[in-house]
């Protein structure tokens, strides 16, 4: 009995034996291509992030990050920022991707970023997850004090490949911290400070805020220290507290500098009003986790110990 096996067509052979091999090679190539020029970083919240080295199209999801990236000399690589990114002025010209609490994911994706930079406490978690889910790496920083800001600057510099700039920035911060510490140790007294963030209602900053740290580091006593991050006060509370120095964040409640001070001058029995120690300061120097916080520290020392 003769059996004739059907002639094996090359295509069929290719399908049976060749395709898996080719697929494997292709897969390896894509993986390699993906790895080439990409690096794995671990961000400040402990997530592993694959980032092309160095990233060329950055979207910053927080005004503070925009500031840091520009300070690191990588401003030209920023392709999108959130609202209120006003520092440096060049950043304000860039395309906006919504506010930091409500970023517009569609706008972000349309800018084709190869890296998004986020802050843990500011950007909503579900938005960050959504961006990551769309294949865009998100590197998150989470600075909680001046030391950690220096750390964040160094980490971002590693990602952006600009360590030299970062070292200079960190050095400057350290110089300001040291000089503040020097003046505080010479001071005989510690002024009782009320830091007003908002005017109506009266809001101050409790412990675990940048403001509390700066006040303490500058040699003052934060009257609002306590577990509540942003406690509200009535004027009755203020009269009991008897602040010796009042710091008022600019633009608090949308009032002008004179209006803000006038509200305090209604209470001449307060030591701060009696001694005319009411100061309106630029809020950006105190609530943005950027190297400029060191300028805020310097400013406070000058106010506390003139």
């Amino acid at each position: 009995m003769k059996t004739t096996s059907p002639p094996q067509r090359p295509a069929a052979w290719l399908c049976r034996a060749g395709l898996p091999t080719i697929a494997a090679v292709l897969l390896a190539m894509t993986l390699f291509a993906g790895r080439a020029g990409a690096e794995v970083f671990v961000d400040q919240v402990g997530r592993r992030v694959d980032i092309p080295a160095p990233p060329q199209r950055i979207v910053s999801l927080m005004p503070s990050i925009t500031e840091i990236v520009f300070a690191l000399g990588a401003g030209h690589r920023v392709k999108g920022v959130t609202l209120y990114s006003n520092e440096p002025p060049a950043a304000a010209e860039l395309p906006k991707v919504g506010s930091y609490v409500h970023p517009d994911v569609e706008k972000i994706v349309s800018l084709k970023p190869d890296l998004c930079l986020a802050v843990r406490d500011g950007n909503p978690r579900h938005i960050v997850d959504k961006i990551t889910g769309l294949g865009i790496p998100v590197y998150t920083i989470d600075p909680r004090n001046l030391a950690e800001i220096m750390e964040s600057v160094m980490l971002l510099a590693e990602v952006l490949d600009s360590e030299e700039r970062a070292r200079a920035i960190v050095e400057q911060i350290q110089v300001k911290i040291n000089s503040a510490a020097g003046r505080v140790t010479q001071a005989a007294t510690r002024p009782r400070v009320f830091f007003q963030i908002d005017a109506s209602p009266l809001v101050s900053a409790g412990s675990n805020t940048f403001i509390d740290q700066l006040i303490t580091q500058a040699g003052g006593v934060n009257l609002a220290a306590g577990p509540t991050a942003y406690p509200r006060y009535s004027w009755e509370d203020i009269l009991l507290m008897q602040p010796e120095v009042v710091i008022i964040a600019s633009m608090a409640g949308g009032y002008s500098e004179e209006e803000l001070k006038a509200a305090w001058r209604r209470w001449p029995e307060l030591p701060a009003v009696r001694d005319n120690r009411l100061y309106v300061v630029n809020a950006d120097l105190f609530d943005r986790p950027t190297p400029r916080l060191a300028d805020g520290l310097e400013l406070l020392v000058n106010i506390f110990f003139p």
């Binding site: 409500h102 569609e106 994706v109 349309s110 579900h126 769309l134 942003y230």
Partner: protein
């Protein structure tokens, strides 16, 4: 009584077809327009090249706009149907989940769960359902007292519960120091930006509710004729009402979790439809679903594209369009 049992086949087909076309147009526009560009035809392009998935436009339409448009459609359909059901049950044209405090109760539950940081499903959704069921129970209890005969007692009780729920929400918000606060405030005004593919499975719980209500459309017609008349026609009024109440409450509380507090859809859409196509619920139920879906998709489109400095809460748009529309209709339907 005649119209309750007449054949509705052709009418139903025509109306569903028209509203279906409207919804299709809304979906197409919703997926085609957005903050990053306005090209409705790109959607067709993306649909044609379903498998090539690497372009940015593909990602935007497929993974960002489409889940959102679907969510808006589902939320709109459910809220509109919820309004219709409550209007029948209370025989009051002002009834609506939002006004009755059902949405408010769900929001109290959902916000409490969010502030505690519980997972979305089943945490936030379960808590929202519990909240709205509790509100419903209290409203029913208040309305079944000695004054139960009065037609408005249920509505009044609902309005009060809604005010109370509003107060509890504001209390929770002012007590909280949560970093989610801003997000929650936005959500309170109706916010579809949480839309993502991961939320779509919740539809599996909502769709059966729609089906149940559609099946009960004929008894709904009978209910409208009054309890005694309905009972004499062999309808178990208590049982049907209870099923409708619980089903409507469940689906509304789920939608509140997905979209926040969106008002007016349940008031405006059933009214417009009732005024234009008549009071037969066998047509009104599917028409409310399609109409509500189209309405919210259009409103969400406006919310996303009107402002260049970030999107608006969609609840603002539904109320700003819905209220004047409602007034015009009332004016024109004067005897």
């Amino acid at each position: 009584m005649d119209q309750t049992f007449t054949r509705i086949g052709p009418r139903l087909t025509v109306i569903c077809l028209l509203l279906g076309l409207l919804l299709a147009a809304a979906l197409l526009l919703g997926a085609g327009l957005g903050s990053s560009g306005r090209n409705p035809l790109a959607v067709l392009d993306v649909l044609r090249h379903l498998m090539q998935s690497d372009t940015t436009q593909h990602t935007i339409i497929w993974k960002i706009r489409l889940p959102r448009v679907l969510l808006a459609a589902m939320a709109g359909a459910t809220l509109s149907l919820g309004g219709l059901v409550f209007q029948v049950l209370l025989r009051n044209p002002l009834a609506e989940p939002y006004i009755l405090g059902i949405s408010g109760g769900a929001a109290v539950g959902a916000i409490a769960a969010m502030l505690l940081g519980i997972s979305f499903f089943p945490g936030v959704t379960g808590s929202a359902f519990a909240g709205s069921m509790a509100t419903l129970a209290i409203v029913m209890l208040l309305a079944s007292g000695p004054q139960a005969g009065r037609k408005d007692s249920l509505l009044l009780a609902g309005v009060m519960m809604n005010a109370f729920a509003g107060a509890v929400i504001m209390f929770l918000i002012s007590m909280s120091q949560s970093s989610q606060l801003h997000h929650i405030l936005f959500w309170l005004m109706g916010d579809l930006s949480m839309a993502e593919a991961a939320r779509l499975p919740l539809f599996a719980l909502i769709l059966p509710c729609h089906v149940v209500i559609f099946i009960l459309a004929r008894p709904m017609n009978v209910l409208l004729t009054g309890r005694e008349a309905a009972a004499s026609l062999g309808v178990n009024v208590r049982k049907i009402s209870l099923i409708l109440l619980i089903t409507a409450t469940l689906m509304v509380s789920l939608v509140v979790c997905l979209s926040g507090l969106v008002g007016f859809v349940g008031l405006v859409i059933p009214h417009i439809l009732r005024l234009t196509i008549g009071p037969d619920h066998r047509v009104l139920v599917p028409a409310s679903l399609l109409g509500g879906a189209s309405y919210l998709v259009f409103c969400d489109l406006l919310a996303r594209t009107l402002s260049t400095s970030g999107e608006l809460p969609v609840g603002i748009i539904t109320a700003m369009i819905g209220a004047p529309l409602f007034i015009v209709l009332l004016w024109r339907s004067r005897p």
